[in-house]
């Protein structure tokens, strides 16, 4: 370990004294200063903050990836080219210690640069956060959807298998199954019945999936969520009524700042045990608008100016969804009715909503709607649009989820996000060192820079190169060879798109330690470690001097 660390320190000194480090930091800081000014996004503070976080993390990852590849490909290759390796290899350091030391030096350099950019991105984001929001909704989004670390739970998946079986049976009973099979055999599969059956059943399965995730006019979805592990407790306070509006019944209630800090605009609050929603949030008061039923003779009747009110701020959960209509309404707005039910207690919350089509929307409700077993039931009713026209609506399983606050805040999540970037860099450093251990610097760079886009687009390529056995036979061989070649690449390279922190940060989603650990195992143990082991082996066998006669 001593030898490795001595080499690593030397590599770090080398990296730090190259102009590359200074140039990179200047570039990074310039991008972070200029980007928020140039990119306004949708004009909201939330949009600008998300853009900063996305570009900050993205640019950091990209710039550091390039630098890592250049440095790691060069540290060994240039040592061998300039023969500086002679004086190191003849010292009591094993070849494997030399390789690992070089790799570790680059990784430590990455950690330093990543620390600088993490502080910079975080500082700029906090600076942006303090700027004035466009409206209360914008502020609520910033505070509850951006500077948070929310856990995300997907619904229990639609039962596509049962629907598929039902549809197939129906086709068979109507003799349409065999007809379709014959047609496919004649036109597409050159008489191959097995292949024709596969195509047909894939088609039926696809239809079943679409049907399960769509509802017709007046139809409804019902999703069940499991495993919601809420953190946080309710906050109680006795406030006093500042004023009441006789016209619409609005109550203005004064409360302490810590309590008001827990409320969000449009979010739930309980006043004298009545569930209400915050309609205005100020520094020393909030407003709610009870229905007339709530006021008349109910628990709110006694709330006159100067009276005390029992107020409770519950933890909240959010239901995020994206709805796509078959035919978009003229005003591009979808109307719906939502019902959220606590399966154990039967407590329910209902709301009519109007949301833009094909845009992610969020519904914030009290966490009391989650039962003690962490379950929640959510219902959706498809309502006619403003002109009274009805259309089918599709909400895919992956486009609906429950988001809730768990232990740990934005700061910890941001660090974990940068941890994901670091894992990416650690892998690239291993690739660079591997290539540099037996190739010249330009060729090693070429290998490294081929790895980067392949890793970034691995998911996309994976889908594109999926073996399509339905293609004409002349192309089959080529496609299959390509797919097999890609399978090899898939084993060797991690999927950077999957491990990128950008989507997590933009969505305010919690990156769990489990996820980070999983990526670390897949990236470090399953990929970087074998690559480094091969690099050590190659370098051990390699003659470091050339024969000169």
């Amino acid at each position: 370990m001593h030898g490795i660390w001595a080499i690593a320190r030397h590599t770090l000194a080398h990296c730090l004294r190259m102009k590359m480090a200074g140039t990179l930091i200047v570039l990074l800081l310039l991008s972070l200063v200029v980007l928020p000014m140039v990119i306004q996004g949708d004009g909201t503070l939330a949009g600008r903050t998300r853009t900063l976080l996305a570009y900050g993390a993205g640019i950091t990852a990209l710039l550091l990836s390039v630098v890592t590849l250049l440095l790691s490909a060069g540290v060994i290759a240039s040592d061998v080219r300039t023969k500086q390796v002679f004086t190191v290899a003849t010292k009591p350091v094993s070849r494997w210690q030399y390789v690992l030391g070089r790799w570790l030096g680059v990784v430590v350099f990455d950690i330093l640069l990543l620390a600088v950019s993490t502080v910079a991105v975080y500082a700029f984001a906090q600076q942006l956060r303090r700027q004035e929001a466009l409206n209360p909704m914008d502020r609520r989004t910033v505070e509850t959807e951006v500077f948070v670390a929310r856990r995300q739970i997907a619904p229990k998946p639609s039962d596509i298998a049962t629907l598929f079986e039902r549809k197939r049976k129906q086709l068979q009973e109507e003799n349409r199954y065999q007809e379709a099979l014959d047609a496919l055999r004649r036109t597409k599969t050159n008489g191959d019945e097995q292949e024709a059956r596969e195509i047909l059943e894939e088609q039926i399965r696809s239809d079943a999936a679409s049907e399960a995730q769509s509802v017709g006019p007046g139809g409804h979805f019902r999703w069940r969520f499991h495993g919601i592990a809420l953190a946080g407790t309710e906050l109680r306070e006795t406030g006093w009524v500042v004023s009441t509006d006789p016209q619409d019944g609005t109550l203005r209630i004064s409360a302490s700042r810590p309590f008001l800090g827990r409320l969000v605009y449009g979010g739930p609050v309980r006043v004298n045990a009545v569930d209400l929603r915050v309609t205005r949030l100020a520094e020393d008061f909030f407003e709610v608008r009870p229905t007339l039923d709530d006021r008349a003779g109910g628990r709110l009747a006694a709330l006159i100016p100067g009276a005390f009110a029992d107020i409770v701020a519950d933890p909240t959960i959010q239901i995020s969804f994206k709805a796509s209509p078959a035919v978009a309404p003229s005003d591009k707005l979808l109307r719906s009715f939502w019902e959220i039910i606590n399966p154990a207690s039967g407590l329910r919350y209902m709301e009519f909503r109007t949301d833009p089509v094909e845009t992610p929307a969020t519904l914030t409700v009290s966490a009391r709607l989650v039962d003690p077993n962490g379950q929640l039931e959510v219902g959706y009713l498809n309502l006619p649009d403003s002109a009274g026209r009805s259309t089918s609506v599709t909400i895919l399983d992956r486009d609906v989820s429950v988001l809730y606050h768990s232990s740990g805040g934005f700061e910890g999540n941001f660090l974990r996000a940068m941890g994901l970037v670091l894992l990416q860099l650690v892998f690239l450093a291993a690739v660079g060192v591997f290539a540099g251990s037996f190739l010249s610097f330009p060729v090693a760079c070429l290998i490294g820079f081929a790895t980067l886009p392949l890793s970034m687009a691995r998911g996309f390529l994976s889908d594109s190169l999926r073996v399509n056995t339905h293609m004409p036979s002349a192309l089959d061989a080529l496609t299959i060879v390509g797919a097999w070649a890609y399978r090899v690449v898939q084993v060797l390279l991690p999927d950077f798109a999957q491990t990128s922190p950008v989507d997590w940060l933009v969505g305010g989603l919690n990156i769990s330690w489990e996820h980070l650990g999983q990526v670390a195992v897949l990236t470090l143990l399953a990929r970087a470690a074998p690559i480094l082991a091969i690099a050590c082996l190659i370098f051990h066998k390699r003659e470091l001097a050339r024969v000169q006669v």
Partner: protein, 396 residues
């Protein structure tokens, strides 16, 4: 055959073949080389360009692997970490890291030997003073002249007080002062029982310091033996006297003629250019003239000098020397008839006995005004062995 365990470097049938991309044999850089480099000797590797000197050295260092044959250093593979811990290597050019300054350079190499911080610091100071770079220790090595880089290269080779010092063209790029100090250093190290392998084109350097030489040509060994054996002219006698007037000279000639001998050459001995140069520099230094480069080196670093030794250590060394002599004689006896047995190496014993005495004054250019007596040898023999005509300019 010498006892392998007693040799620092043993090579048997060492062959290195250079192949092209298609693995076709292109050049045989070293062919069937046998070497036994013994402890405490200064061994010279000589040969013209492309004779296989550097290839041999790189195989001793584990930077190249033999195609055939085997090589062991301190009884182990050259790539063994324990072997490398006992070696110091100065390559033909100082392949140093230009972004480090001299102190950082030595500190880095010291770390590789796992030296504690205090030891590293002390050795860095001593070595920098020794190679005359103490005043520019914080300048980046990339800004050094070639000679200064050679000096720091030499310092890094000595950071571990090596048992085996391998020097590839060590004095190339060095000024005469550095060269002189360097030769003094080699002698000092040899006195301390270190083994030195020296590869050089500068025959005067080799001649001054080496005990044995191996001359290579075309990758094959052409001559191997003690310097005095190779260079001695047994048929001639040289007498040095005070200056003779012509009459006395004629008397000597007549006296020799009566014995049937004749004077072949009469000449006034000349001072060596090296001595003249060192004297001039010393005068300049005494006048405190400014210089932007390396200053004259200081004393040889304390840890590299023979320090006061206790009686037990001296005894151990003497016993080891006696054992080595016995082994040498035994080895000589085993040589096939027709090969002359090597002369008994009394120099080693003499050097060891000197260790019992107070340490010699540190070598310095000032002290080097009168260089130690170099063996009066005919360099033509050496040149002839290298296939050069006498008087050819050595500048390769």
């Amino acid at each position: 055959m010498p006892d392998v365990d007693q040799s620092v470097v043993v090579a048997r049938n060492l062959t290195k073949v250079f192949r092209d991309f298609w693995l076709r044999e292109k050049v045989t850089a070293v062919a069937d080389l046998d070497l036994d480099i013994r402890p405490r000797e200064v061994f010279g590797l000589l040969g013209p360009n492309g004779s296989g000197k550097s290839t041999t050295i790189k195989m001793i260092l584990g930077l190249l692997y033999p195609t055939r044959g085997r090589i062991a250093v301190f009884g182990r593979l050259p790539t063994d970490v324990r072997t490398k811990a006992r070696i110091g290597f100065l390559p033909e050019e100082s392949y140093l890291y230009p972004f480090l300054d001299a102190r950082e350079t030595l500190d880095f190499y010291g770390r590789l030997f796992r030296q504690p911080r205090r030891q590293r610091r002390r050795r860095c100071d001593m070595l920098l003073d020794m190679v005359g770079l103490g005043s520019v220790a914080y300048r980046r090595v990339g800004e050094y002249s070639k000679g200064m880089q050679r000096r720091i290269g030499l310092a890094q080779a000595l950071i571990n007080d090596p048992d085996l010092l391998i020097l590839d063209e060590p004095t190339s790029g060095m000024d005469p002062i550095g060269t002189r100090q360097f030769k003094d250093l080699i002698r000092t190290l040899a006195m301390r029982g270190k083994t030195v392998i020296l590869s050089s084109h500068l025959l005067a350097d080799v001649e001054d310091v080496c005990d044995r030489v191996c001359i290579l040509y075309g990758g094959r060994q052409r001559a191997l033996g003690r310097m005095d054996e190779l260079l001695a002219k047994d048929s001639l006698t040289q007498i040095t006297t005070d200056k003779l007037d012509p009459r006395t000279l004629e008397t000597v000639r007549q006296a020799l003629a009566q014995s049937g001998k004749e004077i072949r050459q009469v000449s006034a001995p000349r001072d060596k250019l090296e001595s003249l140069f060192l004297r001039i520099v010393q005068e300049a230094q005494e006048q405190r003239m400014a210089t932007g480069g390396a200053t004259s080196g200081g004393p040889i670093a304390e840890f590299l000098r023979a320090g006061p030794q206790d009686a037990r250590e001296v005894l151990t060394r003497l016993v080891a020397a006696a054992e080595f002599e016995a082994i040498s004689q035994e080895a000589a006896a085993q040589k096939p008839a027709g090969q002359a047995p090597p002369a008994q190496d009394t120099r080693v014993l003499g050097q060891l006995i000197q260790l019992d005495q107070p340490p010699a004054e540190p070598a310095s250019p000032q002290g080097a005004e009168t260089p130690p007596e170099a063996p009066q040898v005919d360099r033509g023999v050496l040149e002839g062995l290298l296939g050069r005509s006498e008087g050819t300019q050595e500048n390769s």
